[in-house]
């Protein structure tokens, strides 16, 4: 989850998010150097004693400030496009889960093998136990096996919602009457939090998403328990 006053991205929990993090660092370094360069130019111009009122053109500097930005843009675009196409790859998922957005909760359906479905409501602030996170905890988590490709089919029952988990690098709009597909792999066990990312009414801020990645054996035990409770 995000810490207080956090500006940067959360730690990656999937290979895609790792790639996004690295690209973000790469782009940010380029931006920082360009900003430092602009700052230096401003300081130089402000402290210069002479002014030339008769400069009409300068072929050399115009070539430089056309070619150099083009090179910089190519250096940014190539890894960006690579990640863009990586995001669209769906590599034989082991499990398909349907995430349905409602006002104002999520429901998850695991229908690959058995008919398992449950709702996931936010835990109200007054019901939190010590150590739990305000506005992020849910009564039922979406449990997935770790290191397995997962496909999530996202849709909505009423208005637009959006299923987002930043640390997994996943965000997909939940549109009523439409099935959107997103795939990811949780590369480490843990609990990953997200929040609805499309304005959907009064309690839009109070329908969190909690994904718990566990070893396969624990996932099988959990699904058996959930089926018994159902």
């Amino acid at each position: 989850m995000a810490q207080y006053t956090q500006l940067g991205l959360q730690d990656a929990a999937s290979p895609l998010m790792e790639e996004l993090l690295h690209f973000h660092d790469h782009a940010l370094m380029i931006i920082t150097l360009i900003s430092a360069f602009v700052l230096y130019i401003i300081l130089t111009m402000v402290t210069a004693k002479t002014t030339d009122k008769y400069i009409l053109d300068s072929q050399e500097v115009e070539i430089i400030w056309t070619v150099l930005p083009a090179i910089i843009l190519v250096l940014i675009a190539l890894p960006s496009l690579r990640i863009l196409y990586l995001l669209d790859e769906i590599n034989d998922p082991h499990l398909t889960i349907k995430a349905m957005g409602h006002q104002w909760y999520w429901s998850y359906e695991y229908t690959d093998y058995e008919d398992l479905g449950f709702d996931s409501y936010m835990v109200p602030t007054q019901d939190l136990t010590p150590g739990q996170f305000r506005l992020l905890e849910a009564d039922h988590r979406m449990v997935i096996p770790v290191e397995s490709p997962i496909r999530v089919l996202v849709s909505a029952e009423d208005v637009l919602h959006s299923w987002a988990v930043p640390s997994l690098g996943v965000k997909m709009d939940a549109v009523p009457g439409r099935l959107n597909q997103v795939a990811f792999v949780a590369s480490r066990p843990g609990v990953f939090f997200g929040q609805c990312s499309e304005i959907c009414g009064a309690n839009h801020s109070f329908m969190p998403i909690v994904v718990e990645a566990v070893p396969l054996e624990h996932f099988e035990n959990w699904s058996s328990l959930m089926l018994e409770d159902a």
Binding site: Q3, H22, D25, L28, M29, L33, A36, F37, L39, T44
Partner: protein
């Protein structure tokens, strides 16, 4: 608890308020090398030409070139290490899964012994 973790972690230092050099891999080394390269380039140019302003410009250019060079070199090596790490992880997983089977990558193929009359 989260409060103690925040005290234990050192606060990140952000260059120009945007790039956290302590938490971004390779950033700290890149900027340190850049600073060194900048100082060296500027100083050498000044010693050679005695032109102050131009030496500052050369120093700044040296900073950009050294920072970018160190950054890309470090990121490239990190990327190679990450790929090697993934290959090793896959190899260990495959070894565990396929051990003792036909697909075992460590199993040496036995030479076929011709059958004949004893």
């Amino acid at each position: 608890m989260s409060g103690n973790d925040e005290e234990n972690q050192s606060k990140g230092f952000k260059i120009l308020g945007i790039l956290d050099v302590q938490k971004t891999p390779c950033a700290r080394e890149a900027f340190l090398y850049g600073a060194g390269g900048s100082a060296a380039a500027g100083l050498l140019h000044f010693l050679a030409t005695s032109r102050v302003k131009r030496s500052f410009d050369v120093g700044f250019a040296g900073f950009i070139v050294t920072t970018l060079g160190s950054w890309f070199y470090c990121r490239f090596n990190n990327a190679k290490l990450r790929i090697q790490q993934r290959l090793i992880q896959e190899g260990i997983k495959n070894k565990v899964v396929y051990e003792g089977t036909v697909l075992d990558p460590t199993k040496k193929p036995n030479a076929e012994t011709p059958s004949g009359p004893t």
